[in-house]
C-alpha cells in the first residue's frame, strides 16, 4: 500500500444495459480515501453513489477503470476485500427472522472469527451498539435505528480496517441518527477505522473529514467540507419575500432591474437564498429594488454557506456547463 491510500478509484466507469439502452451510473470517477478518514459521498438519489460503492466493493462488475480497497483490486481480489471490509447495505439486509445474537454469531462464523474472539467481541459490540438488552429479539422487530446499529455491529465483528456504509441513517429518527454518527466517530478515534459513508443528508456531510459530491455519475467536487463550501463564490443573503414567484423571477434576471452583484438564487422553502458578491452593499440595493415593485422582504440577513447551498450551487453550475474541472 502506497501512502496510506485505503480506497481508490481511477477512471471508474459502470454502465448498465437495460431494455431501453445503456445507462452510465458511474462515469469516470477518480477518488482516493486515506487511512483513518471519514469520507462522505453525497449526492441526490440516482447520482450513482450506491453503484459506485458496490463496484468498489466488487459487488458489481466494473465497465472500465480501476478500483480497489487496501491495495486489493475490486474484481481480482474480491474475497480478500470481503475479509477485510465491513459493509452495510442501503436497505436493511440482515436475516430478519433471526435474533440479534443469531445474526451476530452468523456473521462472526462466516467471517471466520474464532470462538474465543467471539466470546469477547460480541458482548463488546452489543454494548457499543446499545443492543445488549435485546439479544433475543428478532431482527425485524427492532426499530429502524436499532436495525442500523445491529447492521453496524455485524459489519464490525471481524474487526475490519474499512467500513463502507450506504445511507446508514436513511429512515432513522434524528436522535438515533446523532447516536449513530457518534458511534462512527468513536470507531474512528479508537480503532483508526477508515469510514466511507454515502448519504443524501447534507448535515451529515459536515461531520466528514472529506466529502465527495456526486452528480449524474461524476464526482463534481472532492475536498474537506470547508473547502467545498468555499468553492461557492460570494456569500448568502436569506429572506422571506411577500411575493415569492415574482421575486424569484426578478432576481433570476437581475440585470433587467439594474441589480449588480447577484450571482445565484436558490429557493429554500418559502425563503430565498441569494448569493451576492458583497452582502453589506447588495442587501439595501435588493430591498430597495423589491420595494419598488411592491414586494416586502422579511428578516433579510446574511447566513453562512452550508453544504446544502454549496451542493446546489455546484450542481447548477455543472448543469449550466460553466464548471471548469481544473478547480479542486
Amino acid at each position: 500500500m502506497v501512502n496510506d491510500v485505503t480506497i481508490s478509484a481511477q477512471g471508474l466507469v459502470k454502465r448498465f444495459r437495460t431494455k431501453r439502452g445503456t445507462v452510465t451510473a458511474v462515469d469516470g470517477v477518480d477518488l482516493q480515501v486515506s487511512r483513518g478518514e471519514i469520507f462522505g459521498l453525497i449526492g441526490p438519489d440516482g447520482a450513482g453513489k450506491t453503484t459506485m460503492t458496490r463496484v468498489i466493493l466488487g459487488l458489481l462488475t466494473r465497465t472500465a477503470g480501476q478500483s480497489g480497497i487496501l491495495g486489493y483490486d475490486s474484481m481480482r481480489h474480491t474475497f480478500a476485500i470481503r475479509e477485510r471490509v465491513g459493509y452495510i447495505a442501503q436497505q436493511f439486509a440482515l436475516p430478519r427472522d433471526m435474533t440479534v445474537m443469531e445474526n451476530m454469531r452468523f456473521f462472526a462464523d462466516v467471517q471466520g472469527v474464532s470462538e474465543e474472539d467471539q466470546r469477547r467481541r460480541i458482548p463488546d459490540l452489543l454494548e457499543f451498539a446499545g443492543l445488549s438488552r435485546f439479544t433475543d429479539r428478532l431482527a425485524h422487530q427492532l426499530s429502524g435505528g436499532m436495525k442500523k446499529k445491529l447492521a453496524l455491529a455485524c459489519s464490525l465483528i471481524h474487526e475490519p480496517q474499512v467500513v463502507m456504509l450506504d445511507e446508514p441513517t436513511l429512515g432513522v429518527d434524528p436522535v438515533s441518527r446523532r447516536e449513530f454518527w457518534n458511534l462512527l466517530g468513536n470507531l474512528r478515534a479508537e480503532k483508526g477505522l477508515t469510514i466511507f459513508v454515502c448519504t443524501p443528508y447534507m448535515d451529515e456531510a459536515e461531520r466528514c473529514n472529506r466529502v465527495g459530491l456526486m452528480y449524474l455519475g461524476r464526482l463534481i467536487a472532492c475536498d474537506t467540507p470547508g473547502a467545498v463550501k468555499r468553492m461557492v463564490p460570494g456569500r448568502v443573503l436569506e429572506f422571506t419575500p411577500s411575493d415569492f414567484e415574482q421575486t424569484l423571477r426578478i432576481l433570476r434576471n437581475p440585470k433587467g432591474l439594474g441589480l449588480e452583484g447577484v450571482l445565484e438564487v436558490q429557493s429554500y422553502g418559502l425563503m430565498l437564498h441569494v448569493f451576492v458578491d458583497d452582502p453589506a452593499r447588495r442587501q439595501p440595493e435588493i430591498e430597495a429594488a423589491l420595494v419598488a415593485r411592491g414586494i416586502t422582504c422579511q428578516g433579510m440577513r446574511e447566513i453562512e454557506v452550508r453544504m446544502e447551498e454549496a451542493f446546489i450551487s455546484l450542481v447548477r453550475r455543472r448543469r449550466e456547463g460553466e464548471w471548469t474541472s481544473t478547480r479542486s
Binding site: R54, G58, L59, D97, D109
Partner: protein
Amino acid sequence: MRKRLKRFGAIVRKEITQLLRDRTTLAIVLIIPFLELFLFAYAVDLTVDHIPTAVADMSLDAQSRAFIDALEISGYFDVTMYLEDEKEVIHAIDEERVRAGVVIPPDFAVQVERGRAQALILLDGSDSFTVQSGYGAASAIAQDRAMKLMVDRVSRMGGNLGALPITSSTQVLYNSNMDDMVFIVPALAGILLQVLAVSLTAVAVVRERELGTIEQLLITPIRPIELMLGKMVPNVFVTAFGMLSVTVLGIFWFGVPFRGDPWLFAWLSLLFLVSGLGLGLLVSTVAQTQKQAQQITMLFMLLSMLLTGFIYPRAPMPPLVKAIGNLIPLTYFVRIVRGIFTKGVGLSFFWSDVVALIVYGSVVMVVSAATFRKRLD
C-alpha cells in the same frame, strides 16, 4: 479448509433456524405427505365400481331377472331405481340420479331362446372413468351370461359341448388384487420428493434476493458454492422426511408390498433428490419473487402429474408430449421406484433410467452453480 467448513456450517445453521422459525411453511411441508397419501387412499379411486344404476325391465321374467342379478353381483353396478322405459332411464342419467342404466326389451326371454336377445346398457359419458369400468364390466358380464345359456341349451338338447375351444386365463403380476395403492404409493413418494425439493430450494434462494439479504451475504467471504450447498442441506432432511413417511405409511398402514432392495431404493432416491434440488435452483434463477417461484413449482407439479406416468400411462402420448415428460426427472424415477417397490427388480432392469437421472442431476447442478455468482449483476 477449516474456515470453509465453518462458513458452510454457519449457512446450514442459518437455513435451519429460518426454516424452523417459519412455522406455517414447516407445517405445510410436513403435513402435505400425509394429506396426499390419505386423499389418494380414501378419496380418490381410479377404478369405478358400485355405479348407481337405473333398470327398466320391460320383460320381467326369469331371464331378465338373472341378467340383472349378474350385473349386481359383479359389484360394478348397484341398482338404485326401477323405471318404466328407456326414456325415463335417460332422464335419470341427465339428472345425475344414476350414472348407468339397463334397458331390457319386453320380449327378452323369447329372444334369448332364439339367440338374439339384446340388453341396452346406458353409461354416463361425461365421466370417462365410469364409462371405462362400466363398459368393461357390462360386456364381460353379458358374454359370461351368454356362454352359460349356450352351455345350458346344448346340454338340454342332450349334447355335450365339452371344453370351450379357447379360454384365456389372466394373471395380474405384482399387484394381483389390482389395488390402486400399490400403483399410487411408490410414485406418490417420488412426486412429493420432487415437489418439496424444487419448491423449498427455489423459495430459499429467491427469498434472499427478494428481501435484498443476498447483498449482505455476498459481501462476506462466503463462496457461491458454499451458499448453494448450504441452502440445500436442510431441504434434503425435510424432503427425506416426507418421502420416508409416505413410504413407511404406505407399507405399514396401507399394506403396499415392498419387494426390492431398501438400500438401492434409498440411494436412488437421494440421486433423484439431487436433480430436484438442482431444478429448484434453476427455478430460482427465473423467478424474481417467492410468489413466482411457487407458481412455477405448481405448474411443474401439474406437468409431473400428467406427463410422467404417475397416473396416466405414457405409452399413448404423442412424441412431443413424451419429450416434455422426459424433461421431468420424475419420469425416470417413477419407473425406478415401481421397479424396486412393486416388482422387486434390481439395477439391471432400469439402469438406463438411473443413467438418465445421473446425467440430469449433473447438468442441473452445474448449470445452477454457474448462476450462483459472487456479484449482484
